[in-house]
Subunit: 230 residues, 2 copies
């Protein structure tokens, strides 16, 4: 494999099509990175996010956008990858939500690491957030730090002395702060989609944890979540 | 997700169908683990390994065997996932081989971690080996240690204080030692398959790095590699 290092500043950006990863892509863009987006199709119910991811990548001028399928439904264990019901109108229960997908962010970052190595990127952006999703073990800062340490040892690039950096710029922001920064950077949140349980036409339910957290954050800014507008 | 912890000692075993992972499964078995095998289909040329993995899991009495597809060909960057030629008759060149697949073992272990969490296993076995494959960054002991550290932080189980152990029992063994231990534990190496470039009928080429390392090791024990017998 030829590592490409022509001085261009490349980044791999994990893009789900949701609000957080859209803002994360806008941030990577604003920092001057040539953004190679990666959307992981993991058997989630919210396949409609894929279309949102395409729209978001296109609207923010991503250099490239790859989709990789990995069927985590093989394992089950989450409301997002099995027949466990998505809870409604119940945000802020505490504990680890049933929507937690075992090892999801480890799998996502591993795939991003492989992609980064092939395109010659030394930077990976991921829109994890420890504030509104504090129940997810793999959204915590210490998880990101541990993955970054692993990344130095896991790859050819690391062996050759190139440092891989995992950027999680949203990790300690509130959802309102993420929305504000996204708006400042020109993200069209009407293109994004975060609902855990959309209807067959892809419309957000407005009642799952993800919808509730989004709509409250927009409301706190005196705005209406464009994904919930009919 | 309900973590199953009924006192049974469960392990997830990464199983490629090759010689190393077959021996690794036999070791986990011999230690009394209930073995949940995981074969990752990553777009490798040697899809014939899948059939070998099925035979090996069956012959060694695995409790369960899951197959998860993740198409690393999307990224390319390796002789095993793209059109780069597999080198022949050229073992021991030094450096990182072109058969290195970017971040492969990170992806494999991440998937094993997710599976382990769902079945309630605290142990993962992987047949990586740092001696005969010293050129692969993700076959080194420090990589395994870093992944184990990550695993404590990545999962619900880790948050709840259960320690995840990554076992790489073959990591500092020579191929001959692996074969000897496998034979001692009753592994039928005629069922295994390691060739990087099998013919359309699945027969090993006998000339790629993987075939050469195997056949030399069998020869050093006064044996013929059963995978090369016609």
């Amino acid at each position: 494999m030829e590592i490409q290092n022509q001085g261009s500043k490349k980044a791999v950006v994990l893009l789900s099509g949701g609000l957080d990863s859209a803002t994360c892509l806008a941030i990577a863009n604003s920092l001057g990175y040539e953004c190679h987006c990666l959307t992981v199709l993991y058997g989630q119910r919210h396949g409609v996010e894929v279309e949102a991811a395409k729209r978001v990548a296109l609207s923010l001028g991503a250099t490239d956008h790859k989709f990789v399928s990995v069927d985590l439904r093989q394992f089950g264990g989450s409301a997002l990858t099995s027949d466990i019901s998505v809870p409604k109108d119940s945000a802020d229960r505490g504990g680890i939500p049933v929507t937690y997908v075992p090892a999801r962010n480890t799998v996502f970052l591993s795939l991003a690491l492989g992609y980064a190595e092939v395109v010659g990127a030394q930077d990976i952006f991921v829109g994890v957030n420890a504030v509104d999703y504090s129940g997810y073990p793999d959204c915590r800062p210490e998880f990101i730090v541990a993955f970054e340490q692993l990344a130095q040892l896991a790859t050819r690039s690391g062996v050759e002395g190139h440092r891989m950096t995992i950027h999680a710029p949203l990790i300690d922001w509130t959802k309102s702060q993420i929305i504000e920064e996204g708006l400042r950077l020109g993200v069209d949140f009407g293109l994004t989609h975060s609902c855990y349980d959309p209807d067959p036409e892809g419309k957000a339910c407005g009642h799952c944890d993800s919808c509730l957290i989004r709509s409250r954050a927009f409301a706190s800014l005196g705005l209406t979540d464009p994904a919930l507008k009919s």
